[in-house]
Assembly symmetry: C2
Homo-oligomer: 192 residues x 2
Amino acid sequence: MHLLISHIQDHIKLTDIEAEFIANQIPLKYFDSKTLLLKSGDIATASYFVKSGVLRGYYTDDHLNEHVLQFACERWWIADLYSLLTQSPANLTIEVIEKSEIYILNQNLKEVLYTKIPKLERYFRILTENALIAQQQRILFTMSLTAEERFKLFCKKYPGLIHRVPQKQIASYIGVTPEFFSKMKSKLLREL
Amino acid sequence: MHLLISHIQDHIKLTDIEAEFIANQIPLKYFDSKTLLLKSGDIATASYFVKSGVLRGYYTDDHLNEHVLQFACERWWIADLYSLLTQSPANLTIEVIEKSEIYILNQNLKEVLYTKIPKLERYFRILTENALIAQQQRILFTMSLTAEERFKLFCKKYPGLIHRVPQKQIASYIGVTPEFFSKMKSKLLREL
């Protein structure tokens, strides 16, 4: 089974010819952990769909602190849309956290696909709406929830990821220091 | 000139028949300030496009503090996408800040329009991408910029809005107390 085609077919119907065309155009590549798919400051050229493994997108501030904006595991897309669409230097670095198989959708190819198979507009419209909702909720939760509540939501949103990703990266995603995160996690485990 | 049709035509080409069809389906309504177009807890039914006036979308936390997530002035869309798409109770309240003329796009009609005029998928895909980029940048800026820098960005993003919206709402959008905002504004004005 082609995981990306099946993901697209969860949202729109493709003919066999369309599915084959897309599958042939989008290469699957293998990456070791610590590979950077995109470096902040570079111009993004592609979006990434995870077949297996984990990626993270993070932002490095002027004090060289890293802020994790997103993790992407199986069946997730990740990209620096801002850089892709405006052709400005990327804000994000996208890094492979564990050995991964990734479908790479080049932005020029994406535009070609929109012309050849216009219903892909619908697929990406729906995905972008879902991403917007997730991000809006993240802003609201940062404003209104405690770190503990945000950690519980992280576990719900990314099941099992807590065992695959360094703790300091989860702490960064939740917006707390690694020390605080470690204490909070021990406390929550004791309560279970 | 029909402002919404012209906004759509900035992104996709419509035939005269399509433009007339859309214009006839989407009503323009007039609202006084303080009207609530959506109340948090209700199920959202529509998206709103501002012809004139200003709206704001805000979230009220458990301590009854209001957090402004978005302003919408002329030529902006605003909605609680989460509630619209999941049919769950809205997180946001959408309030009219100054007397406004608003095009109301009912969600059921939106689905009909996607079927009748599929290229509208492209229009909303592009708008949603832009909204996602704006929101992603907002998260990054909250993580990494000072309140002063965030205020300067607000003035750039919403030109002139500082004279149309209560200061405490701008303070909330930027993420500072009204008192801090007032001091910061005076300081910046002295520096000009």
